[in-house]
């Protein structure tokens, strides 16, 4: 098999995996701070897609402000969800699981009723193709890679060095201890949930022009995000990035050898293997 084909396959896998890492990071951030697994997280990704559709495709706003708008709007939706629902469920994993499933259906059905069931096309924000030898990537996907990598770097910087980021990490490690040190748990929970949802909104905004938007579009990214988190380790940012890159590699190369229909199976096989060998994931803490 030509090397160019392998490199192309890897590039194909990485481009989307980085976006799914954004979704996974939001999910893992929310889990770390509120100890809940938000199954409706894909619906926030979908909301990001629809904000992009309306702002960019319908009202003609340019793309970068549109993406920022998607991040802000979905972040605010996260604030509402946390204030109204999830703050009451902090630490109640099972209750939150059931409620988030319900929220998933409510948001998805609401989108179906409001926006219709058909796919809505978002025009390409960036046209053209980049070539390097036999390797090809559209400018649109290249921008998606850069934007996703940039957002991951911003999140890392924020969590690592900002006062609020440190407070979030403190709450994630020991909420009671953080509260004793004067950290306002409620504010941090709200902020963590909002940032988690905003990341999903950014992912939706980035991929809306690449694919299309539909009420059911959140299902696939959230499944990929769970694979990434389980492989990388729950609550670990470097783990999520590594999990995403591994998933991209497996899916990109796997599609070449086993066909695209087998790609989803390969992701789950990877999850099974990791859970058997290292149940806490590659970077997870026992």
């Amino acid at each position: 098999m030509p090397v160019e084909l392998l490199v192309q396959a890897l590039l194909n896998g990485f481009a989307l995996a980085l976006v799914y890492v954004l979704v996974a990071l939001g999910l893992t951030l929310i889990f770390s701070i509120l100890e809940i697994i938000n199954f409706a997280h894909g619906e926030f990704y979908m909301l990001g897609g629809y904000v992009t559709y309306f702002a960019f495709a319908v009202f003609g706003l340019s793309y970068v402000p549109t993406l920022l708008l998607a991040i802000v709007v979905v972040g605010l939706a996260g604030v509402v969800a946390e204030r109204m629902i999830f703050r009451h469920l902090r630490g109640k994993t099972l209750n939150a699981f059931i409620v988030s499933l319900g929220l998933l259906w409510v948001i998805q059905s609401g989108a179906q009723l409001s926006f219709g069931v058909l796919d809505k096309s978002v025009p390409s924000a960036f046209s053209g193709i980049l070539r390097a030898g036999g390797i090809i990537i559209s400018v649109e996907r290249f921008v998606v890679i850069l934007a996703a990598a940039g957002l991951i770097a911003v999140l890392y910087t924020f969590l690592q060095w900002s006062r609020l980021g440190r407070a979030m990490r403190a709450v994630a490690q020991d909420a009671d201890g953080a509260a004793l040190q004067g950290v306002n748990i409620e504010v941090i929970s709200m902020l963590g949930f909002a940032i988690g949802c905003a990341l999903a909104g950014a992912a939706g905004g980035l991929l809306a022009p690449v694919f299309a938007v539909s009420p059911a579009m959140g299902a696939l990214p959230v499944v990929k995000a769970f694979i990434i988190i389980i492989v990388g380790g729950m609550g670990s940012l470097p783990g999520a990035v590594l999990g995403g890159l591994l998933l991209g590699t497996v899916e990109g190369i796997g599609a070449l050898f086993f066909g695209s229909a087998a790609v989803n199976i390969l992701g789950f096989l990877m999850v099974i293997a990791v859970l058997l060998v290292r149940p806490r994931g590659l970077f997870g803490v026992a």
């Binding site: 989307l16 069931v117 058909l118 990537i137 299309a212 696939l220 070449l256 790609v263």
Partner: protein, 402 residues
């Protein structure tokens, strides 16, 4: 008898006679005929379901506006019962059970996506429920399924004349790549396309499948385009996914010819793929309701549909409208809504429908005459619009017309 005394019975009889004279015969009792419509109304194949429901609604409303469906001595108002199965076979079986056992329907007019039809037939055939669908797959029709009808041409009727046309009119095309979803209708379409293409001497260099709902086709396209095909046939891909495949193929540098053997609803394909990536797509199944190639009744249907739904109908809407029309006409012909009698009436002669003279045939392919047959119109997408370029006949229709 005293003079001037009247017999009281005469007055009463006169009143009855007058009343009968004014009112005529006793009015037929108005009843309700419940008809099921299934389809994917959400997810990637939702456009199929939406068109199925709209096609049925159009005909049902016409019937009701005309005073109802007169069958024998009864007049029926039509009530549609619609369920969304999300293109899932399991959900389709559940919906069929609901329709047949809970809603007690005897007719299901409308369904799409092959695997869901198989699931529905496990309920409809034993219960002798008549079932019209647009699903593709050889196994959906057969002597063991006498109550099932396909109301739209399938790949088995369309692929051969389509590739024959290509061989004659586009001789530069030698290498063909085919991609479809990996379910019943997708696999069956790939089989039909490959058989037709190979039979006509084309070199099929790639035959790929994918999971329905896939959004990223870069991996599979990388594999396909490495074979350098002259033609990429997005055979059974639904419009949204076909649009994504063509958009991404263009991003990966594909500049060859594009086919869509199962192509329906080109407007959705164009909206997803973009005008440039959709340019030049040929389809033998698609229909342009504004074209001179189609029957005047199709054009009229298209105008009414566009007025009502603000969209141009695709072939599935026309097919389900036609199926509804044929089934209800057969009920009138049979003078009954009993499925056995309607079945006998339906298969006895051609019906004048939206397609023109509709023949139900193709026994040589399926072992039973249950396929609606009408001419194939090959269309091309040009500047985002569908343009019809040639009309050809499916082999089964050709054979019947000889």
């Amino acid at each position: 008898m005293m003079k001037g005394q009247r017999h009281p019975g005469w007055g009463l009889m006169l009143a009855v006679v007058l009343l009968l004279g004014v009112a005529g015969p006793a009015p037929a009792a108005e009843k309700v005929l419940e008809i099921g419509v299934l389809g994917p109304l959400s997810g990637g194949a939702a456009s199929y379901g939406v068109e199925l429901v709209r096609g049925a609604e159009m005909r049902a409303d016409e019937i009701d506006k005309a005073g109802g469906l007169k069958v024998g001595g009864d007049v029926y108002k039509i009530k549609l019962i619609t369920y969304d199965h999300k293109a899932s076979a399991a959900d389709a079986a559940t919906a069929a059970n609901k329709l047949v056992f809970q809603d007690k329907v005897k007719y299901i007019i409308g369904n799409a996506v092959g695997a869901t039809c198989n699931a529905v037939q496990t309920v409809t055939e034993p219960q002798k429920v008549m079932f019209a669908f647009v699903c593709w797959g050889t196994k959906n029709l057969g002597p063991d399924k006498p109550y099932s009808f396909r109301s739209m041409l399938s790949q088995w009727e369309a692929a051969e004349p389509f590739y024959r046309w290509m061989k004659e009119k586009r001789p530069a095309i030698k290498k063909v790549a085919v991609i479809s979803p990996n379910d019943t209708s997708g696999l069956d379409t790939n089989t039909a396309v490959v058989k037709a293409a190979k039979g006509l001497g084309f070199d099929v260099v790639s035959e790929e499948t994918y999971e329905r709902g896939t959004k990223d086709f870069y991996p599979v396209l990388t594999k396909i385009l490495a074979q350098k095909p002259d033609l990429l046939d997005v055979a059974a891909a639904p419009p949204g996914e076909a649009g994504l495949i063509l958009k991404q193929a263009r991003e990966l540098g594909f500049k060859g010819a594009k086919g869509w053997t199962a192509g329906v609803n080109p407007a959705t394909l164009v909206s997803i793929a973009g005008v440039q990536a959709a340019e030049g797509v040929w389809s033998p199944v698609n229909i342009n309701v504004k074209s001179d190639f189609v029957d005047a009744k199709v054009r009229k249907f298209g105008e009414e549909y566009e007025k009502r739904y603000k969209e141009v109908p695709g072939v599935i809407a026309v097919a389900n409208y036609g199926a509804f029309d044929v089934f209800t006409k057969a009920m009138q012909e049979a003078g009954s809504i009993e499925t056995e009698k309607v079945l006998a009436a339906l298969t006895s002669r051609p019906y004048d429908t939206v397609w023109g003279k509709l023949v139900i045939g193709a026994k040589e392919t399926y072992g039973i005459d249950r396929q609606f047959l009408y001419p194939v119109v090959i269309s091309e997408i040009r500047g985002g619009k569908t343009v019809d370029i040639e009309q050809v006949l499916p082999a089964a229709l050709k054979a019947l017309q000889k």
